[in-house]
């Protein structure tokens, strides 16, 4: 079982490395989206630093959503997913490994990059560190929740709207607590409460999402 998980992780990472640019491009997407905002909104420093946490979080959300799109799509098209379903391993485990790999390859780089972008938007050092911390705790939840949506959209041709309706209510708390933490710290309320709620969401997602994703995949392949 652990064996199968290890293989899955290896597979995902090998695939990503083979495609090389895939990991980098998610990161660059994140960077570019963040950089678009000053261009659209204008270069005033106060405005920028005020909206910075929101911008970073929205960009992280989009980057993670975009890359999740392909989480199962290829395996579905080329028949690999069928084989997973027919494999003797519990599907939820395989799914969990896939999500883990996904986060390592796309979520983590975003977290590591966020301080530089925070600086560009004129955040101060404390806010930057807090920002990175919220991303570190929050992005796994994005991958986990998104995986359920990715599973559900597989078969259903235009299930996009349904997916958004299902996933968004779950994404929004992450966004609110993530970007809210910095604001709370700024106004002196302290970010502890925000951080622990964010952590709780991630843990809960880790417990439930793999099963839900597995179920979604089974439905999609029927």
């Amino acid at each position: 079982m652990i064996e199968a998980m290890r293989w899955m992780l290896w597979r995902e990472i090998a695939l990503a490395m083979r495609r090389k640019t895939e990991v980098l491009t998610t990161l660059f997407f994140f960077i570019i989206v963040v950089s678009l905002f000053p261009l659209g909104v204008g270069p005033e420093k106060e405005t920028l630093s005020q909206i910075a946490p929101g911008v970073l979080w929205v960009a992280a959300l989009l980057a993670s959503m975009l890359s999740l799109n392909r989480l199962y799509a290829e395996d579905y098209l080329d028949g690999t997913l069928e084989q997973f379903l027919l494999g003797a391993q519990p599907l939820a485990l395989l799914v969990f490994s896939k999500i883990l790999a996904h986060w390592l390859l796309t979520g983590l780089p975003l977290v590591l990059m966020s301080p530089v972008l925070g600086m560009q938007l004129g955040l101060d050092v404390d806010s930057i560190l807090l920002m990175a911390l919220t991303l570190l705790i929050g992005t796994p939840a994005l991958s986990l929740i998104g995986s359920v949506g990715a599973g559900l959209t597989l078969g259903v041709r235009g299930g996009g709207v349904l997916l958004a309706l299902l996933v968004l209510p779950l994404y929004i708390p992450v966004l609110i607590f993530g970007s809210g933490a910095v604001d709370a710290a700024r106004t002196g309320v302290g970010a502890d409460a925000h951080l622990s709620i964010l952590g709780a969401i991630s843990v809960l997602a880790a417990l439930l999402a793999p099963w839900a994703s597995a179920a979604a995949l089974r439905i999609s392949l029927d």
Binding site: L24, I32, P43, E44, M119, Q120
Partner: protein
């Protein structure tokens, strides 16, 4: 003179002829670059007087400005090669474009880096959304896109043609991007700091231009070296490369 005949240049555009020529030229450029670097840095850091306002921090300029110049210039040259390669199907041109891309990206990155380091003492921030800075950042994205596309396609022939097309599109866009960013910024507000306030001592000029040439020669040397290995890789089935490998050397 042989150099003035068209045939000579046509011949030089064949990878087979160019390979040994590049091999001979590269070390000379590298040596020249190294010497100029040493001279320029010495003049810049020890001879030139400190600025009355910025004290010593202005000395980053000697590195920053040549890097920034070269970074922009390399992009144009690279796209030019790409366009030639795409239109006239000369293999060497696309190879030159591929050879220039990483250097250009690195120069851009270093330009950003040195500029940011300079920004802290002068503006009090590592980054501001000034027109020049923004368009320079976009330049980095363009380089990254170029390289990412080339890396993502495994067939080298197809990769170089695809990235060449991207370069062509990019070159159409460069002026548009440049002016849009400039206009975008000036419409809002003037920058609080202008970069042109430095009066140039002669020794400063010397340092600056020496280093500018150093960066030039460095870029040429690196590009020639890299194009040699690209030639070997892409032409590895050509008879002359096989012979070369058998002979075991240059």
């Amino acid at each position: 003179m042989q150099i003035f005949t068209k045939a000579f240049w046509l011949q030089l555009s064949s990878p087979k002829v160019f390979y040994p020529v590049a091999g001979k030229l590269a070390p000379w450029f590298a040596i020249a670059a190294a010497i100029l670097f040493v001279i320029g840095l010495y003049v810049g850091f020890f001879v030139a007087p400190p600025d009355y306002q910025q004290k010593d921090s202005y000395r980053i300029m000697f590195i920053h400005v040549p890097l920034a110049w070269m970074a922009m210039f390399v992009y144009i040259v690279m796209c030019g090669y790409a366009a030639i390669g795409l239109i006239w199907k000369t293999r060497l041109s696309t190879m030159m474009a591929s050879a220039l891309a990483p250097t250009g990206a690195m120069l851009t990155f270093l330009g950003l880096w040195t500029g940011a380091l300079w920004g802290k003492p002068t503006w009090g921030a590592y980054w501001v959304w000034d027109a020049r800075l923004t368009s320079f950042l976009i330049l980095l994205f363009l380089y990254m896109g170029y390289m990412a596309l080339e890396n993502a396609i495994d067939d080298p022939q197809r990769a170089s043609r695809a990235s060449a097309l991207l370069g062509l599109v990019g070159i159409v866009n460069i002026p548009i991007i440049y002016f849009s960013v400039k206009w975008w910024n000036t419409l809002h507000q003037g920058m609080s700091v202008s970069t042109s306030g430095i009066s140039m001592e002669p020794s400063m000029k010397i340092a600056m231009f020496t280093l500018a040439f150093a960066v030039w020669f460095y870029t040429i040397a690196i590009a020639l070296t890299r194009v040699r290995s690209i030639i070997l890789e892409r032409e590895r089935h050509a008879a002359w490369v096989v012979d070369l490998a058998k002979a075991g050397g240059r």
